[in-house]
């Protein structure tokens, strides 16, 4: 029943983008106007393969999924060629296309739902919620006078699970990099850093953490500096003081710093 000029068909097909092999199958079933429950598998397999052959090398990554489906189609086609069982046994033998048909139908339904969601997305993009939050008169006046306003941030100002997971993923990558660094033996020891910190303290009388953690150094060196600082603090050789919570940390000589 599907009498389509194969040339036109393949030209059109190759120009189209499909989300995957099932998307392509849905398209072929629809454009050929075949009965989904009685798919002419030979015709569909042929057109499917034509499309796969037309796929450009850039789409190699997706090609695997398409090739897998092509193999399935060819297997079904072969099964269809096997001699049919006698009439009495017929209902006991499953149609080799059955599983595929169910998948296509299910996928097609989700395409419809996706379409439905797309319509909702479009409609929703045309309406806008209230923009300004500090709406009561006094608050607005305060705001105009330079008052602070809560950052609007993400929905509800809440951190989402995605935020949390992203933070951890970033830390893991950082740890990975640090580990890579640590594999090489460090050409610097804690003693080296202790001497470096002492020099700083003696020279200036006091210093800050910012000055001790040299930006140009690899991160692993910072850890050495950090351990050296803790060591010296424990020995009473220096004291660490922070002005306010996020302020600069100052380093002073400690009581035992007499040498």
């Amino acid at each position: 029943m599907a009498d389509i000029d194969p040339d036109i068909q393949s030209v059109k097909l190759a120009a189209l983008d499909f989300e995957g092999p099932l998307d392509l199958l849905v398209y072929l079933v629809q454009t050929n106007e075949v009965d989904i429950y009685d798919i002419p598998i030979a015709l569909i397999a042929e057109q499917f393969l034509e499309y796969v052959e037309s796929m450009t090398p850039e789409r190699l990554a997706e090609a695997g999924d398409f090739l897998l489906m092509a193999a399935t189609l060819l297997r079904i086609k072969a099964q269809m060629l096997l001699p049919q069982p006698t009439a009495g046994d017929e209902e006991k033998i499953e149609d080799p296309r059955r599983e595929l048909v169910l998948k296509i139908i299910e996928y097609q339904q989700f395409l419809e739902i996706a379409e439905h969601l797309r319509e909702h997305e479009s409609a929703r993009r045309l309406v806008f919620p209230r923009g300004y939050r500090d709406w009561v008169e006094e608050d607005a006046a305060e705001d105009a006078a330079g008052g602070t306003r809560e950052g609007r941030g993400e929905p509800g100002g809440r951190a989402s699970l995605a935020d949390l997971l992203r933070a951890f993923a970033a830390l893991m990558r950082q740890a990975e990099r640090d580990r890579a660094h640590r594999l090489e033996p460090l050409p610097i020891s804690i003693e080296d850093k202790v001497r470096f910190i002492r020099r700083h303290l003696l020279g200036a009388g006091r210093t800050t953490l910012r000055e001790l953690f040299l930006p140009a150094e690899p991160r692993a060196y910072w850890i050495v500096t950090f351990i050296a600082l803790l060591e010296m603090a424990r020995e009473g050789e220096l004291r660490l003081r922070q002005g306010d919570t996020f302020g600069e940390v100052h380093v002073y000589p400690g009581k035992s710093n007499r040498r």
Partner: protein, 190 residues
């Protein structure tokens, strides 16, 4: 400046309007009722219907819409061209077809594993899932029982808000779709 109207106590309608005006998030009828004081959710729904009738008659540029199980006051879509000009930042991009398809499956099959999503779509959903989790449309809904206890995914409240859906049940039921869901039970006989 002049608050020189009569001093009648504010009506429930006025209070509901003030509350909906004061936030950009949907408020539930129950939450509104609690905030108003002596009102039931049913009264709130009547009040909202009356407000919407007012807005229509008075040609206000906004209306109250049911969304994500609550109510939100939004501009009418006719004003989108002007409001868009106002917004300096470009709107968030539309979801890709792949993202929409995956989201559709998550919405119906939740909680659902990546493997199930891939079986239905016939392609990998790794990148798409990441986008959906990052855009807070999908979240982790637990772990499955199967081998390796795979992560299961589900939709978020933001999903409903993004699409302006009142709830998951606002999605078309399978029987409303043109093609019926395949009768999976028959598979057992084979």
């Amino acid at each position: 400046m002049s608050e020189s109207r009569d001093d009648a106590p504010p009506s429930a309608g006025e209070i509901v309007e003030a509350l909906l005006f004061a936030t950009d998030e949907p408020l539930t009828a129950r939450g509104l009722a609690a905030l108003v004081g002596d009102a039931t959710p049913a009264v709130i729904e009547d009040v909202i219907a009356a407000l919407n009738a007012d807005y229509l008659r008075e040609r206000r540029a906004f209306r109250i819409e049911p969304v994500a199980g609550g109510y939100q006051i939004v501009t009418r879509s006719a004003f989108a061209p002007w409001v868009r000009r106002l917004r300096a930042s470009p709107p968030t991009p539309r979801l890709s077809q792949a993202a929409l398809e995956t989201l559709a499956i998550v919405a119906y099959k939740q909680p659902v594993s990546r493997a199930e999503l891939e079986a239905i779509r016939g392609v990998s959903v790794d990148g798409v899932l990441r986008t959906l989790v990052e855009r807070e449309l999908v979240t982790i809904a637990g772990r499955g029982e199967g081998l390796g206890r795979p992560l299961l995914y589900g939709t978020t409240a933001h999903f409903l808000e993004y699409f302006g859906l009142t709830g998951l049940d606002a999605l078309p039921r399978p029987e409303e779709l043109e093609i019926l869901f395949a009768d999976r039970e028959r598979e057992g006989e084979a």
